[in-house]
């Protein structure tokens, strides 16, 4: 499963989400804010190849609008750095 975990880490890294080591036995990993360390949720390592990037990119608007990600705002800030126009649009859409 190491390949999938590397895919997951690479998908989350641009959004400032760290994928911790195994959170519970074997297959599940804790997601943390890379800035403040707050727990953000969890993910498992049986995703299909390529799925992690698709899922994380699919949540760009939610990170940008603050509907997902840390209360400290790190993921929203990262989304603005990645694509300011799209982030602004998402902010309006979910206002």
């Amino acid at each position: 499963m190491s390949t999938i975990i590397e895919e997951i880490r690479a998908a989350y890294e641009p959004f400032g989400v760290a994928v911790e080591g195994v959170a519970t036995y074997g297959t599940y990993y804790r997601l943390r804010c890379a800035r403040c360390g707050a727990a953000l949720g969890c993910i498992g390592d049986r995703l299909l190849p390529g799925m992690a990037r698709e899922l994380v990119d699919g949540e760009f608007d939610l990170y940008a609008a603050g509907l997902a990600g840390c209360a400290c705002g790190h993921q929203a800030e990262r989304a603005r750095v990645i694509d300011a126009a799209r982030a602004a649009s998402a902010g309006q859409r979910f206002a």
């Binding site: 959170a23 519970t24 036995y25 074997g26 297959t27 599940y28 804790r30 997601l31 727990a39 953000l40 949720g41 969890c42 993910i43 498992g44 390592d45 049986r46 995703l47 299909l48 799925m51 899922l55 994380v56 699919g58 949540e59 608007d61 939610l62 509907l67 997902a68 990600g69 859409r93 979910f94």
Partner: protein, 288 residues
């Protein structure tokens, strides 16, 4: 265990709020979710077999044909809820973490604690079936193979969809076991079905609260395609070569396509009632 013990770790203000609401009942008075629905009749569709097939019946301790046992073990591997399956316990661990991290209030955490207790009850029930079939298998770690059990849960809405849709899948499969040729499975089917249905209703209860507010509904609408496609994929390929064997041996009543269609009709009605637009059923699907 007293509520005050259960509530250890909950902030003092929240604890007092729960107690003042009369939260001495299980799950803050809402658990179990299945009772009110089943009191009005069978909520799930008839999944009984409509084709002619041999009338098999095998009980605990019976000699099982090799093909039959292989299919039964395959079914139990997919089911996964066994006390000896460390990955199942790991999944339950994530449920505790998600509740601690994302639940909106103490009431929701109490409800989730009832959910966990009930899933662990299933782990005992399936362990007892497994250990009498094959003690080695009963202790084997079998991570859930389907990606639906591994999708990221980063919001409370993710967790609510996980329960509404994934536990509902479990309820439909347990409904299908009412006429199982394997007697121990048949015996527990009604308990497992109603419990899993209740877990789905729990998720729906959380979704209903989220969707009552405009921004919450927008979040649910945005996350729905991810969970909806996974939920439909969980029934497997419509042309799975094993399906006719499962049906002939009496381990399943209907094929993957048929049970998926029944599930979709049920789930679509519930989603529409939340004010959500149901995604195209082919969107994002991996297993058609």
């Amino acid at each position: 265990m007293a509520l005050s013990d259960v509530a250890e770790g909950i902030d003092q203000d929240e604890r007092e709020a729960v107690l003042s609401r009369g939260g001495r009942e299980r799950g803050a008075g809402r658990w179990p979710f299945w009772t009110r629905v089943y009191a009005q009749g069978d909520p799930l569709p008839d999944l009984s077999c409509k084709i002619s097939r041999p009338d098999h019946s095998f009980d605990e301790g019976d000699e099982l044909p090799d093909d039959y046992k292989a299919l039964l073990m395959k079914m139990l591997r997919h089911e996964g809820e066994r006390a000896g399956n460390k990955s199942f316990l790991g999944l339950m661990g994530t449920c505790i973490e998600v509740a601690e991290t994302l639940a909106p209030n103490a009431e929701a955490r109490l409800i989730k604690s009832e959910y966990l207790a009930e899933e662990l009850k299933h782990a005992i029930m399936f362990h007892r079936i497994a250990v009498r079939l094959d003690p080695d298998f009963a202790l084997r770690d079998v991570p859930y193979a389907h990606y639906a059990f591994h999708l990221p849960r980063e919001t409370w809405v993710d967790d609510a969809f996980f329960h509404f849709l994934v536990d509902l899948n479990g309820a439909f499969h347990a409904r299908d076991w009412r006429e199982s040729s394997y007697v121990p499975l048949r015996k527990i089917s009604r308990t497992v079905e109603r419990d899993e249905f209740g877990h789905s209703e729990m998720g729906y209860y959380f979704l209903n609260a989220v969707c009552s507010e405009r921004r919450g509904r927008a979040l649910a609408q945005a996350l729905l395609p991810k969970w909806y496609s996974a939920a439909l994929d969980m029934f497997g390929r419509s042309d799975s070569p094993n399906t006719p064997k499962f049906i002939q041996w009496g381990l399943k009543g209907v094929g993957n396509s048929e049970i998926r269609t029944a599930y979709k009709e049920y789930a679509d009605r519930k989603l529409a009632a939340l004010g959500l637009d149901v995604p195209d059923e082919r969107l994002g699907r991996r297993f058609l």
